[in-house]
């Protein structure tokens, strides 16, 4: 049984009994769809983000650094990508994290695996994918994201790019651990709760806008609108989707609900995945911030490898699904 069926009943009751809309009209359907999605995503956001941020309280950056220091390359890349799933960071932390990692002996390639995975496979994206597409597509997204992160970091590690990191980075002495105070269980719970509520306050408005636009597309856009224009036959569709995703950074919350409706209207899954990955991983402000520590050539190599990985994933899933 679907655990969200009570939410569906509530949405139907509100739409058809309280607002007195007709169930078989486009407007009635769209309103019920909007209410159902908003409540369901809100609940999922709360529970999953609370859980993830609680786990994260046991994984401060100092600990991650210790786990990743002097690991064998491939194993280190995998660990870094996996840790990246539960530890998203504000893109403004990218530079201090980068310097802190490489300074204390985390291999450069392993650091890049973390830098790719942390924003791309983030909790908000995972919640929305789970809520709107089901666990299979959420799993495909997470597994391909981790794979791209592992490979990007591994390839970059093999390329010996140390000389392309800005020289001053190697001169900084990183001080001892920041917060040393032990946290008890209750404090962790309280902090996770504050974090969750702050995050929801930040993203929920975008979720509502996204779900609203999605409901509109669901109700009013003609079937197969997109399959004719950007169907699997169009080889430019995946790169184009990636390009469009770049300026939409940090708005996974608003973008994913719209993507769901676009898939219903014929957008191929691979193209949709590539688009969502580009929104989360290829963020313009993060690249600008990274320019402070990476020489332009290294930044370009990073962007190219990551972009190729995302485009390849798009083609792969268009081809197998």
């Amino acid at each position: 049984m679907d655990i969200f069926s009570p939410v569906q009943k509530l949405a139907d009751w509100l739409s058809y009994s309280v607002f007195r809309l007709q169930p078989d009209t486009i407007l009635g359907g769209a309103v019920s769809y909007f209410i159902y999605d908003s409540i369901k995503i809100g609940l999922l956001l709360f529970f999953i983000i609370f859980f993830v941020s609680f786990i994260r309280s046991y994984l401060p950056p100092e600990k991650i650094k210790k786990i990743l220091t002097n690991k064998f390359e491939f194993l280190g890349n995998i660990l870094a990508a996996l840790i990246g799933i539960v530890t998203p960071f504000c893109s403004c932390s990218a530079v201090p994290l980068f310097i802190g990692f490489v300074e204390s002996g985390v291999p450069l390639g392993v650091t890049f695996s973390y830098l790719v995975s942390a924003p791309m496979v983030n909790e908000v994206a995972a919640v929305l994918l789970l809520g709107m597409f089901g666990w299979k597509i959420a799993a495909i997204y997470i597994i391909s994201g981790v794979t791209i992160a592992v490979l990007t970091g591994f390839v970059m590690g093999k390329m010996n790019l140390h000389h392309l990191v800005e020289d001053y980075v190697w001169k900084i002495k990183v001080g001892d651990t920041a917060e040393k105070n032990k946290k008890d269980f209750k404090k962790r719970l309280a902090e996770s709760y504050t974090y969750t509520m702050n995050l929801i306050k930040g993203v929920y408005p975008y979720v509502l806008i996204g779900v609203g636009l999605g409901a509109f597309i669901h109700g009013y856009a003609p079937e197969n609108l997109l399959s004719r224009i950007v169907g699997k036959g169009n080889l430019f569709a995946v790169p184009l989707a990636v390009l469009i995703g770049v300026p939409l950074y940090s708005n996974a919350a608003g973008v994913i609900p719209i993507v769901r409706s676009l898939i219903e209207k014929g957008l191929p899954l691979g193209t949709a995945l590539a688009f969502m990955m580009s929104v989360t991983a290829l963020s313009l402000p993060e690249m600008i911030i990274l320019k402070k520590v990476l020489k332009p050539k290294l930044l370009a190599i990073y962007i190219i490898i990551l972009t190729v990985g995302i485009i390849f994933t798009g083609f792969l899933f268009n081809w197998i699904m």
Binding site: S91, C92, V95, P96, G175, E179, N198
Partner: protein, 79 residues
């Protein structure tokens, strides 16, 4: 005595700066509340996640924006 808010200029960091100023004022803190974007200084203190708060050069919080009450409690403990 100074309270420093460290970040790299992102909206989250500015939010923490505003919150810190408010918290400092509410607990009657008389010193300076400064905002710096000096990453080198952050790392020297051992802070790897922004935004962060340091009191007299010692980090007391990093990587998140706490509630106003928690921030007030932290400042009160140190002054």
């Amino acid at each position: 005595m100074t309270i420093q808010v460290l970040g790299s200029g992102c909206p989250t960091c500015k939010k923490l700066y505003d919150l810190t100023k408010q918290a400092a004022a509410e607990v009657g803190f008389k010193g300076d509340v400064k905002y710096t974007t000096d990453i080198q200084k952050m790392l020297e203190m051992g802070i790897m996640q922004s935004p962060a708060v340091a009191i007299d050069g010692k980090p007391v919080l990093s990587g998140r924006v706490p509630s106003l009450d928690e921030l007030k409690k932290i400042i009160k403990e140190k002054i």
